[in-house]
Amino acid sequence: MNRRMIVHTLGRMLQLEAVLLLAPLAVALLYREPFVPFLVTAAAAALTGVALALVRPRTHVIYARDGFVLVALSWLFYSAFGALPFVLPGGIPHYIDAFFETMSGFTTTGASILPDPAVLPHGMLFWRSFTHWIGGMGILVLCMAVVPSLSARSIHIMRAEMPGPIVGKLVPRARDTAKILYLIYIGMTLVQIALLCCGGMSLFDSAVYTFGTAGTGGFAPVASSCGGLSPFLQITITVFMVLFGVNFNLYYLLLIRRGKSVLKSAELWTYLGVIACATGAIAANIAPLCATAGQATRHAAFQVASVISTTGFSTTDFNLWPGFSKTILLLLMFCGACAGSTAGGLKVSRLVLLVRMLRRHLQKMTHPRAVGTVKLEGKVVGEETQRGVTNYFALYALLLGGILLLLSLEPFDLETNLSAAISCFNNVGPGLGAVGPAASYAGYSAFSKLVLSFAMLFGRLELYPVLFLFAPSSWMRK
């Protein structure tokens, strides 16, 4: 493994984090709040970054394994440093709590240990949500876009960080692809901020809510999440949650006027179809609890969009809903949104592939000599990719079981532990029972918080990078 290159790149990544920390620093200055926490953290990240970057790689060549380890390490370091501002006076007293909160931010989970986030000063609230925005599109993709080429083989880094079964490039060079993705991301973010401002929200709140939506994170500046917002704002956020769950490649195709291929996307239609069906079912189910059918639909649509895009905002405490609605939401947590978006979960394209492979397998059982292929978006999916999807699914189930087992040491009921594990693993945020949208993760022990933090990291990076980070074989001199 090219350790020198990994350490060197890690150094550059930390320098970038120091620069990113200047944003909350500016907010803190603007609101005349203590800015020292951010200054100290930025300095620490910058110094460590410079020190690590002093390690000169002998060669810039990296392989798939280096890409995985580099990505996992970068995310760990980002969270470890990103948690520091909260620990310094005026924020979250315990480092583990701050680490959980930051990891939840970067992985765009939105699970919080704060019963009422409004106690935090503006600078910290901003940083908390800003981590969503950075983590949404990926920190190494950001690094690729702004730092001159890391390596000709940076596709390995991109593949390790971008979600989905198949990661391709939009344009020939990885760096240009990263730039395009970020430009689309920034553009959509600005549009949403503008719309929220039009709806009467203050600029600060608009930014914080938008960061939560864009990264499909879900940190809100108040305990009631989106409950206190006007219907217009709730609908705007619903639409954008759905939009940020769409594969960004499709936006690029729209930009280069190849709209026809967008309309042919099976993943997109499945995604929208699932949202429509789930909304209809839940709206019918909760209608007796709401004043009007319109209100029921609005709440249903918001919660469905929030959960399927793995954002985790809420307009109402869905913990109080009937069992049928809660079960649909729990299942949607697994589903997740499209590959190549900022969302977590299994991803719709994987599920579509799984169903098609299953169908093909059943066909093969009844007609043993039948020849058939599995297609996705009009292209034949190779055996290798198919095996990848089934293996991913198996690993996913195993890890989820492991996390649940570790959590079950806590004195909570099964519904709470199960939903907490599913919610964090799929980067959603709120769960059911004692970790419902109206509650927080504050009741868990430090050990469980660490377990959940890693569950979030596993989920965001799609299992393999973190797995290889812990695999002894990655670190042996071989």
Binding site: A152, R153, I155, K169, P172, R173
Partner: protein, 452 residues
């Protein structure tokens, strides 16, 4: 610049790796998904799976905005068709690999015109030309000519008994009474552009430029002049072998070709009446000896396998064949073969990537003083480039010693009115001149890039 390459075989990969390293946006098309995956893992290019003659595939690769379209699949017909379609779909310049002798011998101009090709490339033929040039000057390991035909760049190894070993460059020209310039020196893996105080050592590989006549004079006074190779044994009946044998026959050399496929032997026999074609396994040393390997002037290994070529060339060298040349397509192999004592190698993939890199640079810089000829020297560590000076600029009319050139740049020659000047500090560059520049570790697009 956006470039599409169809076909990712040995040649295609060599081209896309050098063009991607030049900073171009490269899209690679191949009909095998595994090949496309392997390519995109290693090089920073986009991969598209499909046929190069399929409109949908070409459109997915963005053919309408492509400035250069290169088709180098194994099939000439597919290459021509792909280029034709790409041209119709909006690619500005199209280049096809056409290597079948049937197309190359008579109808090439017609095909090129009617299909709207900007250029056709034939790696096998170019490799044969390079081998032929070396056989004319067997002391060289590499010899390249520029647009002025009699001016060449030659690379050779300095053996322990060479009179150059231990000499300072500033003393050499007087001592040997010939006009030449040593441009590059490769010593234990490092490349230098030497000045007058540089001292040569045995084991160096040097590159020098001179007029052909001067070079002959120099090699004679060095005592390493070899007469042109006349009896040549070629191993492998590939297309390169066909072109080489044809050219050698035309200059009156005796050619013997060993090939193990009977059908190939037959067709070679038909098309090359003057050559002796032997049917047999050339990897068997007995056969080589039986066919008079030891009495040959030169042995050229042109089979499709790099490994076979290397091993049998080393065997031939051990049998004291005066000149041994191996065809090697993979760059890594060349370095390895050099370490185990093989001196002269010809690489079709490198020749072709030189041609395309030059073409792409000239396209990018069609207004300034574009690159006319480009050769990679010393395994790609340095380049020799020929520029035509278009119009007045900061460069023209200034004595060379006053030009603020960058480090690693050497002006090797200036041609004016068909005469060459070995430049000194007082010489100037004038509009209309052709200038040959040696550059180390830089990619020059325009002559003005040599200025600091």
């Amino acid at each position: 610049m956006k470039i599409i390459i169809v076909g990712c075989g040995k040649i295609g990969t060599a081209i896309l790796s050098s063009l991607a390293a030049e900073g171009h946006d490269v899209v690679a098309i191949d009909n095998q998904p595994a090949v496309v995956d392997a390519i995109t893992d290693v090089y920073d290019v986009m991969g598209v799976t499909g046929s190069g003659a399929d409109c949908d595939t070409l459109q997915e690769a963005g053919v309408a905005g492509a400035e250069l379209f290169v088709a180098v699949t194994g099939s000439d017909e597919l290459n021509m068709l792909s280029c034709f379609i790409a041209g119709k779909l909006g690619a500005s310049h199209t280049i096809a690999r056409i290597r079948n002798p049937e197309y190359n011998d008579s109808s090439l101009g017609f095909l090129r015109r009617e299909l709207g090709l900007s250029m056709s490339i034939n790696p096998e033929r170019l490799a044969a030309v390079e081998v032929l040039n070396i056989l004319k000057f067997p002391s060289a390991v590499k010899i390249e000519s520029f647009s002025h035909r009699n001016f060449v760049m030659m690379e050779l190894w300095l053996h322990a008994d060479s009179p150059f070993a231990g000499a300072r460059l500033s003393d050499l020209r007087q001592r040997f009474g010939a006009k030449f310039l040593i441009c590059t020196v490769q010593r234990s893996g490092e490349v230098f552009i030497p000045d007058g105080s540089f001292t040569l050592q045995a084991g160096d590989k040097i590159g020098m430029t001179a007029m052909l006549g001067e070079l002959t004079k120099l090699l004679k006074s060095m005592g390493i002049a070899q007469k042109r190779a006349r009896d040549i044994l070629i191993l492998g009946g590939s297309r390169t072998a066909y072109y080489l044998a044809k050219m050698l026959a035309a200059v009156g050399s005796n050619v013997k070709i060993i090939e193990q496929d009977a059908a190939v032997c037959e067709s070679l026999c038909e098309s090359l009446p003057k050559a002796v074609v032997i049917h047999g396994d050339g990897t068997g040393q007995e056969l080589l000896l039986e066919e008079g390997l030891t009495g040959m002037d030169a042995f050229v290994a042109l089979t499709g396998m790099d490994e076979e070529n290397i091993l049998l060339s080393i065997y031939a060298a051990s049998r004291n064949v005066p000149k041994v040349i191996a065809k090697i397509n993979r760059d890594g192999m060349a370095g390895l073969a050099e370490r185990i004592g093989l001196e002269t190698m010809v690489s079709p993939s490198r020749i072709i990537s030189d041609v395309l890199v030059r073409y792409a640079r000239a396209l990018e810089n069609s207004l300034g003083s574009p690159v006319e000829t480009l050769y990679q020297l010393m395994d790609g560590a340095a380049e020799a480039l020929e520029f035509i000076v278009n119009g007045e600029s900061d460069l023209t009319g200034v004595p060379l010693r006053d030009l603020p050139t960058r480090s690693g740049i050497l002006i090797a020659a200036i041609f004016r009115d068909r005469k060459s000047v070995l430049p000194t500090g007082e010489d100037v560059i004038l509009p209309g001149d052709r200038v040959i520049v040696i550059a180390k570790g830089r990619r020059l697009r325009d002559l003005s890039d040599i200025l600091a």
